[in-house]
Symmetry: C2
Subunit: 217 residues, 2 copies
Amino acid sequence: MRMSELSQATGVSVPTLKYYLREGLLHAGESLGATRAAYDDTHVARVRLVRALVTGAGLSVAAAKRVTAALDDPPEGWHDLLGQAQHATLPDGAGGDRCGRDDGDSGSDRGGAPATPRADTLVDVLGWQVHGQSPVRRELETALDTMRGADFELAEERLQDYARAVAGVAALDVESVPTDSPEAALRHVVLGTLLMEPVLAALRRLAQEDLSSRRFD
Amino acid sequence: MRMSELSQATGVSVPTLKYYLREGLLHAGESLGATRAAYDDTHVARVRLVRALVTGAGLSVAAAKRVTAALDDPPEGWHDLLGQAQHATLPDGAGGDRCGRDDGDSGSDRGGAPATPRADTLVDVLGWQVHGQSPVRRELETALDTMRGADFELAEERLQDYARAVAGVAALDVESVPTDSPEAALRHVVLGTLLMEPVLAALRRLAQEDLSSRRFD
């Protein structure tokens, strides 16, 4: 199909499609001459994914490129593929572009990486299978640092309690990942992780009100 | 004590204390003349709370004032007091300044308030005790609207599953609220609700990785 047809099939304007091409978010079509190219179903699937990532989930172009890069140069296995999508949901600069799950040994030798002692202890105590270089360890450590800075310390056992409770949420996340196509799975991981956050925040407050009413009313 | 001593006792500078006074976040001291006033332990407690809210939790001055207003004109009972603190953690403009838990009937007659059908159904099905006018219903509805706009619909049963899982998190929140003073309780509710959000987001991703590894690796 021509670019105008790709636009019709996806509901994305031609200028935006050209932008996706320039930014490397969309692979080139088959050249039919200097100014014409043919696109196919792989382009339709990719455009829908990119639009979902950028417009739906609000990813930056850099983060969206980390997701599409995982499609263009797929790691071995679904777990590592989904890991690259998940890391793209971290704030830009959180190391998501260099720390796939398959890029090094786990554990002790991290070179100059900052220490994440509370995150490491938590993962060890719970026996969770988390890559030693996962940038999420640093995210957790930073969040705990912020709490400490506000003089609101969380005891180690309490953090474990929270982790076990949150695992119930993550179980719902992971069991609902579709496996019919890599695009669908990556879309689900990114949108499900990011767009569920405000939903979970609201659910937490509703449940707090219910439980507060039972404890204090 | 004089203002300079209040500053020493709290670690908050005199210009910042004057700012708190001007903004109504701190009650006036006992006047000792045109330019002098005496402060006491109630001022120390209040300054520490305000600093925790504004600097620690990142509340806007308007939101912090909603919390201190709950102290200055306390509602009857801890549940409503804590509710006002919790509503201050919602984004500014989410209606937190007019929707305490004690300001109207629950349920059917909400005048011009926007409908929140999915939130209402959820609360009903789960039997949660949530005020009919709680602004959190609207927060949830908005978050679900955003998902729908991204073509990422959450089935009603699935939303209930998530709500039940999140209730395990909220139970930890509510059981840890201290009851030794209203200031301590309000501080705990606001900081615990807001500062835990990035912690919970990181824990969710760590748990996702563990469970993904078990499902896909």
